[in-house]
Each structure stands twice: as structure tokens, then as C-alpha cells.
């Protein structure tokens, strides 16, 4: 980890002629006003994306973005400024703007910076350089060929490949000095199939904090293409989804977006500090059925939602949110933890140096139970089996959340029958969590495709769950009940 910090210093500070003393000076300058806490967030981000359409690689994009964000906190007040130039004058200018949040005349000083230690969850190598351009082009073509070979009804294939290499360094007035180098890759295949004039779409993707060779080693191009085609073909035969309240079985893995929406956001520290969440003030209460244990875990190797340290320099951790149905804790960044008298859980995240950090999820999932997934499906007399989802959304105050099924089937007398069209499922977080009646033994995490939006900021996240049975959730189709 000190290795990560060293890499970050070499990337971010050395070219600008900055050293630890300079950072200490800027932090001291920030603390001269009546400021309680302050930090500097340096970042260099390089991204690329390649896309294939009509069987040819048409487009490639490269982006480089760097800058520094300066934050000053005084009680519940935050002042923030940033600059896309990493240099001493720009830093002091941003510091002056940020510290104006507090009255002048204080005489605070920052703590001596101490090198922090984080996890070692992924290799810091540059994923953009993990393959030659020719190899990237070949990978896109392999996915295209696999999709077209999978079925003659495939009419259109689009494939995208992207990577980012993100180097960050945090220096804070509480003495934190930490760095991280974060790779992230993603491959996506989308197809349109056509049969008798009827068209449908399907898509699949994955990735993580790795180099591109992962896709080769996993034969991902072929696997993702075949899965995209399978989904599209299933949807060709889909009948209208039923409408109304019914028993639903959710498949393992990505359907864990349920947890992200139904409980995850509502357990973020900022909402609970302000008392605006349906879960506010409910620690120790039964908020989910017995047997339900939900954790947020930023320490899983190579996962899309994992981080060696969060964006405030705190090492990530496994945080138990709900244990056997009882609400145990919230996800915290430093500011909200401080105001609530607890410790940061390493969930302080930000989209980039141009945004303020706030409590965000990492990888959020439910621990497995003891039921065989087949037994869960067999237990449904009449209901829905939903295995793939689009996105979701939640109103954390009322607890109402939605998530959208993109692949689902009717279940009749314990048997999976016809596929149904995409439909929105809607419920109330605490209510739905209490209606979980069976938990499978097949915990899976998603393939590495999640992006979470909050207050205009996007961050990569992971979700997961075992197969679940939920009694009585509203399904928004157009068919009969």
C-alpha cells in the first residue's frame, strides 16, 4: 500500500514540483479559519473506449482528466473548490475559496501527515496498456462473431470495450496521507434479434478492477455474446407481464439491485444524520425478515465496487448493515460519522476531484441461506421468476423503490412456464425486506456492470444476492392478474 502512495506521489505531485511540505502548508492555510476538517484530493484519470457496430470497429475515444479538489468543513458546513491545474498557486487559490465557509480568525493547524496503509485488492497496472490496440480490436471482433454465430436471427451487434486507470492521492488535516491506483475494465455486448418482423434486444457485460487479459482468460467475448443473444431470443417469445401483487422469486447475482435500492441507499450515513431516511433512528430494530443478513464490503479482490481506500483515505471494510433481520449500522464517510459520533466505515466516495465525497455503497449483497434454488421456485403456486434486471431507483424518505425486470418468467404450480415482457417491480423497502420468506444457498455477485447515481455523481458499485422468495410485491405489467 505504501507502494500505492508512492505511485500516486510520483504521478500526481512530482510532475507539479509538489511535496508533502507543500500539502501541509495548504492544509495549514485551510485550518487558519475556524475550520474543523479539510482535505486535498489529487487525481489523474485516463480512460479509453472502443466500440464496434455493423461488424467494424468504428470509434475509439481517449480521455485524460486531472485536477485537485479542496474541501473545508466547519460543523455541518462544507466549502469546496477545485482546479484542473495541479500546481501550488491553483491549490492556494482553491483553498482560499473553500475556507471562506468558516469565519476567519481561528488558529487551527493541521496534523502532521502520516502515510496511511490500505488494502492490496487489485494490481495497480495500467489496463489501457494491458493489450495492444490490435488485440483490443480482435477482442471486439471475437464478441461480434460469437453473437452472429449464436443464432441466425441476430441482426445487429454492438460491442463496447472500455478501461480506466485512476490514480488518487489524499492529504487531510487529520494527518491522513494515502494513495490508490485503480484499474477498471468493462466489456459489453448488445444485440437485436428479429423473427417474423418482430424485434427484441438483449445485452450482457462484465468487468472489474483488472487488466484486459481477464476477458481473454475467461473467454468473456464469447460468453457475453451468447448470453446477450439468449436473453434477446427469450424476449422474442415474451407475453405481457401480469399486473398486480404476487409472489416473486428473484434469481441470484445482479437482481441484488433490489438490496441496493430497497435498503442500501436508505442506510447511507448522510440521510440518517439528517433524519431523512425511512431507516433513520432504527438501529437495533427488526427491519427485515429473520435470516436476512446484508453487508457492504469494499474489500473483495478485483471487484468493480472495491477500493483499497475510499476517497477520504480510509481503508474500506466489510460493514454489516442488517444481521438476521436486525438493523446494525450505516455506511459512513468522515463528516457524517463525525457528526453522528461514530467512525467512518470507508464509504466516503466521489465521482472525481470536481465533486464532494459522500457516503456511497461499494459491493452490497445478502449472505446466503440454506434453501435449494429449485425448491424455492417449486414453492410458488402462481407468481413470477425474475432473473435479469435493468436499473432501479428509490425515494429514501418514503422507502418506495422500483427495479425493472428485463428477463422474467411466469411460475405456475411450481413450474417455470412462459417468459414475460419487461416490467417494473415496486415496493416499500422495509416492508418488502420483511416479506422475504426463503433465502437460497447460491449467493452470487454481479458480473461487474453496476453504476450508482446519487446527487448527480456516478460511481462503480457491485451487488449480489442468493435466490430469494418475496411474498406479495407489485408487478407492473399489462396482463391480467
Amino acid at each position: 500500500m505504501s507502494n500505492m502512495l508512492e505511485l500516486a506521489q510520483n504521478q500526481l505531485l512530482v510532475p507539479a514540483g509538489l511535496d508533502e511540505n507543500d500539502l501541509q502548508k495548504v492544509l495549514d492555510q485551510l485550518m487558519q479559519n475556524n475550520v474543523d476538517a479539510a482535505d486535498l484530493y489529487f487525481q489523474l484519470s485516463r480512460n479509453e473506449s472502443w466500440s464496434l457496430e455493423d461488424g467494424i470497429v468504428k470509434d475509439g475515444r481517449y480521455n485524460i482528466d486531472q485536477g485537485v479538489g479542496v474541501r473545508a468543513i466547519c460543523g455541518e458546513k462544507t466549502g469546496f473548490a477545485y482546479s484542473d491545474a495541479i500546481q501550488f498557486p491553483a491549490l492556494t487559490q482553491a483553498a482560499n475559496a473553500a475556507r471562506a465557509i468558516a469565519h476567519s480568525g481561528g488558529n487551527g493547524k493541521s496534523q502532521i501527515l502520516v502515510k496511511g496503509v490500505g488494502h492490496d485488492l487489485y494490481t495497480p497496472n495500467d489496463p489501457l496498456a494491458s493489450m495492444t490496440a490490435d488485440e483490443k480490436v480482435s477482442l471486439l471482433h471475437a464478441a461480434d462473431a460469437a453473437a452472429r454465430a449464436a443464432d441466425p436471427r441476430v441482426k445487429e451487434v454492438t460491442v463496447s470495450l472500455s478501461a480506466s486507470h485512476d490514480t488518487i492521492l489524499i492529504a487531510a488535516a487529520d494527518g491522513t496521507l494515502a494513495g490508490d491506483v485503480r484499474p477498471l475494465i468493462r466489456l459489453n455486448v448488445n444485440v437485436i434479434v428479429e423473427q417474423n418482423g418482430k424485434r427484441e434486444q438483449g445485452g450482457h457485460g462484465g468487468g472489474g478492477r483488472r487488466g484486459y487479459e481477464y476477458f481473454i482468460n475467461q473467454s468473456a467475448a464469447e460468453a457475453f455474446a451468447q448470453e446477450a443473444v439468449r436473453q434477446a431470443l427469450v424476449n422474442l417469445d415474451a407475453v405481457p407481464a401480469p399486473a398486480g401483487s404476487m409472489d416473486v422469486v428473484l434469481g441470484p447475482g445482479w437482481p441484488g439491485v433490489l438490496l441496493h435500492e430497497a435498503v442500501g441507499h436508505g442506510l447511507e450515513g448522510d440521510f440518517n444524520r439528517k433524519g431523512s431516511s425511512a431507516f433513520s433512528g432504527r438501529i437495533g430494530e427488526q427491519v427485515a425478515a429473520k435470516g436476512v443478513t446484508v453487508v457492504d464490503n469494499g474489500t473483495l479482490a478485483d471487484r468493480r465496487g472495491s477500493l483499497n481506500i475510499d476517497d477520504e483515505g480510509t481503508p474500506t471494510q466489510e460493514t454489516v448493515l442488517i444481521e438476521d433481520g436486525i438493523l446494525k449500522g450505516y455506511m459512513q464517510d468522515k463528516m457524517n460519522a463525525g457528526l453522528m459520533g461514530v467512525k467512518s466505515t470507508g464509504n466516503g466516495r466521489r465521482e472525481s476531484y470536481g465533486y464532494l465525497p459522500m457516503p456511497r455503497m461499494t459491493n452490497t449483497y445478502m449472505q446466503p441461506g440454506d434453501k435449494d434454488p429449485q425448491e424455492i421456485i417449486a414453492s410458488i403456486e402462481k407468481g413470477l421468476y425474475a432473473v435479469n434486471f435493468g436499473g432501479g431507483q428509490v425515494d429514501i424518505t418514503s422507502g418506495k423503490f422500483v427495479f425493472s425486470a428485463s428477463e422474467a418468467y411466469l411460475v405456475e404450480n411450481g413450474k417455470i412456464t412462459a417468459p414475460v415482457k419487461g416490467a417494473t417491480l415496486i415496493g416499500n423497502g422495509p416492508d418488502v425486506m420483511n416479506r422475504i420468506t426463503m433465502i437460497g444457498n447460491d449467493l452470487e455477485l454481479d458480473t461487474g456492470v453496476g453504476t450508482c447515481g446519487k446527487e448527480g455523481q456516478s460511481v462503480p458499485v457491485g451487488v449480489g444476492q442468493p435466490t430469494l422468495r418475496i411474498d406479495g410485491i407489485t408487478v407492473g405489467g399489462t396482463g391480467g392478474e
Binding site: Q66, A133, E194, A241, K274, G354, S398, K400, T478
Partner: protein, 452 residues
Amino acid sequence: MNQVAAQNVEAGLPAQSELEKTIASVLDKARLAGATAAEAAISAETGFCVTARMGEVETVEHNRDNGLGITVYFGHRKGSASTTDTSEQGIISSVQAACDIARYTAEDKCAGPADKENLATEFIDLDMNHPWAVDTNAAIELAIQCEAAALEYDKRITNSEGGSVSSHTGLRVYGNSHGFLNGYASSYHSASCAVIAEDDSGMERDYWYSSSRQAEALEDMASIGHKAAERTLSRLGAQRLGTRKAPILFSADVAASLLGHFVSAIRGSSLYRKASFMLDRVDEQIFAEHIRIHEQPHLLAALGSAPFDNEGVVTTPRDLVTEGVLQGYVLDSYSARRLGLKTTGNAGGVHNLTIEPGELDAQGLLKKMDTGLLVTELMGSAVNGVTGDYSRGAAGFWVEAGEIQYPVAEITIAGHLNDMYKNMVAVGNDVDLRRNTRTGSILLEEMTIAGE
């Protein structure tokens, strides 16, 4: 220096001539690197956003953003790069990166900048730039006033997510190797308030906002606060509905999404990928006969106005739907070439998309609906653009005999966009001008409501 330029420099923005020089230099470097064509855009933006919560300042954020994007063409091969580093070195690296990519992309005969004859040659001043002479302290006072109006409105308003005021001014210049080089400044200001109400039934949150290019056109702070409070209170005690079919009235602020799905479906990239339920439907009756949908790119000081699109193509007012019949698509140069059509000046999107308002106001539409669901919030996005199947979470009010009866939540509405467009009964004159899509409330004959 003219007056506008002076204002920009005052706001901390570079002069337009500086950005034009940068673009010229970028295009020059691309040519020297062997590119047969190139295009580039540069933007600079400055501003702030302040939030006050429970009567105290909560955040003061200063924004200052620069961005440069370049696309180079080697014959029909294309590469793009972008950066926030607009220094000489940053430009050199970006041009190089774009050229490197273009060595690996394939020949695509449709790739290239817009055709020269489609580029804008006259540049009307659309009155887009109105910097707001307000500093962060004054803005904090406004945000506090806005929130206070909501907090004082009713004792059931117990908590708040705050009042916010933001002001931004930006400058964007675009140029390409046909010799096009032009840009303009624009401003954007907004004020908003979100509060929480609580009673025995639980907590509800809602908000209201105002936005404009001109600060003086923003709604009064107290009025924003009051509306936020009223909207939040009206949600308390929400019930569910039994599953049924019923008429649906989309309030003006959510009706824009119906037009958004329409634009997605007639966008060139959806059409040439055959990923749309609107394929080959020009001249077909898509909407009810009384519906007209048009673009108004040259409205003065409007949020969606633009003299030219993101490729320098001249924008023109035009009908997308006349008497319910589809007149054309939403195209940029690339998708137009793919479809064998001419660009419609929509690189970057539509401009002030407007559905012609009808005679009735919001109240009149409730009366016309008589019994049905007034939808004021939509959640989630199970809208399939390939098939037109539509299913979304909703909240709003149950209406009987033209009167609101009680709030409803935790329901979904579903249907097919073809049916929804054909069965638009009426469009209200309560037009929401806060964004690029201008629509009043829209009444639909019937959709499926799923609930208990």
C-alpha cells in the same frame, strides 16, 4: 472587447477569441499529423452552487471547468480524444491520442464532419448569456429564504434537504476543417427546495425548482418554497390502488418524459441500428390527430436554443409531428448518411421540443378526465425502445368527478407507447418552461395500473 466579452472576462472566463485561437491551433495540429479532416470543441464554464439546510449554509461549491474534445479523420477512419488540460502540451497529447486511435478503427464511408453546405453561415444572437451579478453570500441568503418559506408553511414540514441556488456561465466554441469556427456564451441559473413532511402515516419528500438563463426570470424564492411544501404535504397519507385500467393524466413536469421516449425512438442512431419501434414510419399517423410536435431552436434566451448544432450544422424550426403524422427523424450527419437522408441539425439533441398546447388548463384537464389517475412522479425506466413496451413506477392522486380524492403511491402504470401516443386525449396549456422539452399536462385515454 465588446460587452459580452467583457462580461465573460469578469466572470473568470477566457475571451471567445482565445478559445477560437485554441481550436484553430488544434485543427492545425491535426492537419500536420496527417488527418484529412478534423473537428474540435472547447468549453469553459464557471459558477457556483450553494445549499442552505435548516436555516444554515450547508455547502458552497465553486465550479470551474474546462474541456476540449477533438475528432480526427484519416479518410473514413476516425479517432477521438478529450481532456481538461487545454495547455499546449495537453493539446499536443490529445491530438496525438486521437490520431493513434484512428490507425486502428475501420473505414466507415459515413464517417466525417458535417457536409460543408449544411453548416451555419449566419449567426443569430439568441440572447443566451445573462451572467447573474450575485456572489455566494447573496445566493446563500436567497437559498435560506427559499427554504424558510417551505419550513414555515406548515408544522408538518419537519425536516429539509435544503434550499439551493446555483449560477453558471459558460462559453463553447466549435470548429472543423471546413473552416467553420464559431461559438457563443450562455448562462444557466436555478433555485430549488426539497423538504420532508411527516404525520402518523409516515414521511414524504418532494421538491420544486425554477431554472432560466436569466436570473430575473427565476420564480420568486418564497413561491418555490411554498410549492415545495405544498407538493410534499399533498403526498402524506398516500394509499395504494387496486389493479385496474383507467385514464391517466401526466402532470406537465412528468409529461416531458413521454416526448423523451418519442425522441429516442426517432433518433438516427436508434433507427440505423433498427433498435426502435418507430422504424420506417414517416408519414404514418403516430399520435392523435390534434397533436403537433415541433422544434423551436431560435427562441430568444430559451434553455434549448442553439444557432447551430454540435457539428456546426444550422438549426431550423420544424415540425416533427403534424396532425399526429410523423414528419421526420432526429438526425446528425453520421446517422443521416447511414439512412440516406439529410442531417436535421440535431447532433447533440433536439432544441426546445414543443408539443402544441391545447385549450384546457390543469384544472380543466382534471374535469375532462373525470375519473382516473393524475401522475406527478415517475420512477424507474422499464421502457423498451425496441418494442415500445412501457412500465414505470408512479405516484400521484386518484381523481373522481374531476376532483382530487387522495394521494396514491407504490403503483405502476403500463402500456405500449404506440397506444399511449395514439390515445392522447388532450394537451394542457399549463406549459412547463423549465427545460428543453416544453409541454403542458397530457391526458391519455387509458393505461394499466398495477397495485394491491
